[in-house]
């Protein structure tokens, strides 16, 4: 059974650039089109299960808007 | 001829093209960049020279070199970039070359901001470069004037072998107004006898700003001063509004000049007998005209988008004989006509005084206000 994780996108920073979306190997990220941030952007969000907490989205996010967690079971790997 | 709706920056560029500018050298800087961008395609399209220089410092020296050949050349920039040109401008002046410069002023000092301002007045008018020299400085206040005075700038620069600056600010550079463009001038074919162009079949020529022998340098400086006296005699320009019966006058140039015009109209509507004197050549300054006008006035108001730089020239013009007040917004803040109108009302209301300095009174008022 694969490692499980999840991410939290901070709306004050996210600009909906989709760099994380394109980078996620699990394709579980997408923009929340029903929602607009104060700055007028559609923020990124988890749109499906299967996040492994691999941290790759965090590597690509220009706004450092993503916080990434992984279930204790999984080993904590630092993304650098 | 057909009127076109153009941005000040682009209108100046096209006017220069039609005035026969052979080479443009510049560097991007807001709020002047459209001028460079326009030239970047317009000049090559006409087979003329365009170089986006590595810096304003390089640009002014490219202009210096090109000007040595006798061709019509120009550069443009905005405040910080213009500061980088000061050494070059002094060299060009010392070499007695015709060059046209455009300064689209922004808020300063330092990096400041990109909003309209008039804080470069002293730098441009009273010599920001080292040594004794004068530049002719034309200050348009609308796009049509920007076009007309750009063309005039080339003519005056050549006539007096002088650096000629078209001085405006971000407001005029960025706004669009209808204007008529002049016909396309043919390119210069005849060149002055000082032109260094390897024409051949003649004595070698050289151009330099060196005179290691001070006595020779002094002779050069006196020649330049003599030429400047001719400029003062022939080229002073200004525009008066509602001055015939005016008891009060506003003195303002460029953008603050046109803003003041709105205020003066409003004041007239209120029955205040106020007029406007708008210097067009801020260098040479219309000293005589202002002095003469002053004799019939009860009070004057100088309006700037700088902290009383032109004010000193106005006071010198009236020889401190006319009660004068000052109003300005600075650092990139553009005054609204209403603010100027208030200042006119205060002036008309009085009391008028000759004591102290108008700048100090203005600072006191602003301190209470802000």
């Amino acid at each position: 059974m694969p490692v499980k994780g999840h991410v939290v996108v901070n709306e004050t920073y996210c600009k909906g650039c989709e760099l994380c979306v394109g980078a996620c190997p699990q394709h579980v990220l997408g923009l929340d089109l029903d929602h607009i941030t104060a700055k007028g952007y559609h923020p990124a969000t988890l749109i499906a299960d299967g996040c492994t907490g691999c941290g790759i989205c965090g590597v690509m996010c220009p706004e450092a808007a993503i916080t990434i967690y992984r279930e204790k079971s999984g080993v904590v790997r630092i993304t650098s | 001829m057909a009127r076109e709706l153009m941005k000040g920056n682009e209108a100046i560029a096209e006017a220069a093209v039609r005035a026969g500018v052979a080479a443009y050298f510049g560097y991007p800087i807001t709020p002047q960049t459209e001028l460079l961008e326009y030239m970047s395609h317009r000049m090559p399209e006409l087979g003329r020279a365009f170089v986006q220089a590595e810096s304003e410092l390089a640009a002014i020296n490219m202009v210096y070199g090109a000007a040595c050949t006798g061709q019509r050349v120009m550069s443009s920039s905005s405040s910080p970039g213009v500061s980088l040109m000061m050494e070059g401008v002094s060299y060009i002046a010392g070499t007695e070359l015709p060059v046209v410069l455009v300064d689209v002023m922004r808020g300063g000092p330092g990096l400041g901001n990109i909003a309209p301002a008039q804080g470069d007045y002293n730098q441009i008018v009273h010599g920001g470069g080292h040594g004794d020299y004068h530049s002719i400085v034309l200050a348009p206040s609308n796009v049509q004037e920007a076009v007309d005075y750009t063309v005039l700038a080339f003519d005056l620069a050549e006539k007096y072998r002088s650096v000629t600056v078209v001085l405006l600010d971000g407001m005029l550079g960025q706004m669009m107004e209808p204007c008529e463009l002049p016909p396309m001038k043919p390119m210069k074919k005849e060149f002055e006898d000082w032109a260094v162009n390897a024409a051949g079949g003649r004595e070698r020529r050289f151009l330099t700003s060196i005179n290691l022998n001070p006595a020779m340098q002094e002779v050069t400086n006196f020649r330049m001063l003599d030429r400047w006296q001719q400029v003062e005699a022939n080229e002073i320009r200004y525009k008066s509004y509602f001055m015939e019966d005016a008891k009060f006058a506003v003195v303002a140039y460029g953008s603050s000049g046109r803003i003041s015009l709105s205020a003066v109209r409003a004041a007239r509507a209120e029955g205040i007998p106020v007029g406007l004197i708008r210097p067009i050549t801020v260098s040479p300054f219309p000293t005589e005209a202002i002095r003469e006008a002053g004799k019939k006035l009860e009070g004057m108001l100088v309006v700037e988008m700088s902290a009383g730089q032109m004010l000193e020239d106005v006071l010198a013009a009236t020889q401190y004989s006319v009660p004068t007040e000052f109003f300005a917004r600075i650092g990139g803040v553009v005054p609204y006509p209403d603010e100027v109108l208030d200042a006119i009302r205060d002036l008309a209301k009085g009391p008028l005084t000759m004591e102290g300095h108008p700048r100090d009174r203005w600072l006191k008022r602003m301190a209470e206000r802000i």
Binding site: T12, L19, A23, I68, V76, S80 | P28, P44
Partner: protein, 260 residues
């Protein structure tokens, strides 16, 4: 990087402390943001936040001092290396970095960067190559690729009249004073990780007093390139990297010994 434990989850990644909690003015997807983030992460990891003095340049990153959570000054266009020299010479024990764009460093600031490098100034330069003048609206930069369209080369850069691009890393690596000069790209997770390693190395170089270090980051400018961030990354990979090969151009023997 800060790692902290929550109830039943392990924190894998969180915003670094060396960034302020201010939202940037950068366009969506602009990789200036990635460069900022990486620098902040490395500073956190090295625990030198309070020893840092940054020198912001003039360009889209002019407000870097609003985003980095340590001391900063702001330099005139192109003069950051000179300003950094002034800072470093009076405070040799502090960590001094400049953050410059390609117009800033490779055009107007060429003399200052070459001389800071040849003097072996013990500073670190972060150089963002996005092939144009972003802040002023996308004019041609010294790094603009041949044929690339910009607002001051609307028919595409003509090398005959507008000259050839400058490869800054190659150029600065020529100088005896430079100790660590490399080029990295911010276009995919792998390259971003390599970029981060380079930042760590460069700052270690300075910390050990080994002299001048510079990292050129190939970066995107979606706004002025007129592409989506995604498409921009692709353009970077396909057009920029071939012209600006990634790699280490100068690694002083003493630097080679640094193990991270």
């Amino acid at each position: 990087m800060a790692t902290m434990q929550t109830e039943n989850d392990a924190l894998v990644y969180a915003r670094p402390e060396s960034l302020t909690d201010v939202s940037t003015h950068y366009c969506p997807g602009c990789t200036h943001g990635i460069a900022h983030r990486l620098i902040a992460e490395v500073i956190d990891e090295m625990g030198i936040r309070e020893k840092m003095i940054g020198v912001a340049s003039v360009g889209c990153s002019v407000f870097a001092y609003n985003y980095f959570n340590f001391d900063f000054v702001q330099a005139p266009h192109g003069r950051a290396p000179a300003m950094a020299t002034g800072v470093k010479r009076v405070l040799p024990d502090k960590m001094v970095i400049t953050y410059q764009g390609d117009g800033d460093m490779a055009s107007i600031g060429m003399a200052e960067i070459v001389h800071a490098a040849t003097r072996g100034e013990n500073i670190t330069v972060f150089f963002i190559n996005n092939t144009n003048y972003g802040m002023t609206g996308g004019q041609m930069a010294p790094t603009t690729l041949p044929g690339q369209k910009t607002t001051s080369s609307i028919h595409g850069r003509d090398v005959e009249t507008q000259g050839y691009p400058i490869r800054a890393a190659e150029l600065l690596s020529q100088l005896d004073g430079s100790s660590y000069v490399v080029r990295r790209a911010l276009n995919d997770p792998k390259n971003v990780r390599l970029a981060k390693k380079a930042i760590r190395t460069a700052l270690e170089v300075q910390a050990r007093g080994l002299g001048f270090s510079m990292i050129e980051f190939l970066s995107i400018c979606p706004t002025n390139w007129g592409m989506t961030p995604e498409a921009s990354l692709k353009w970077l990979e396909e057009k920029m990297i071939p012209y600006y090969p990634l790699g280490d151009y100068k690694v002083h023997p003493a630097v080679a010994e640094i193990k991270i």
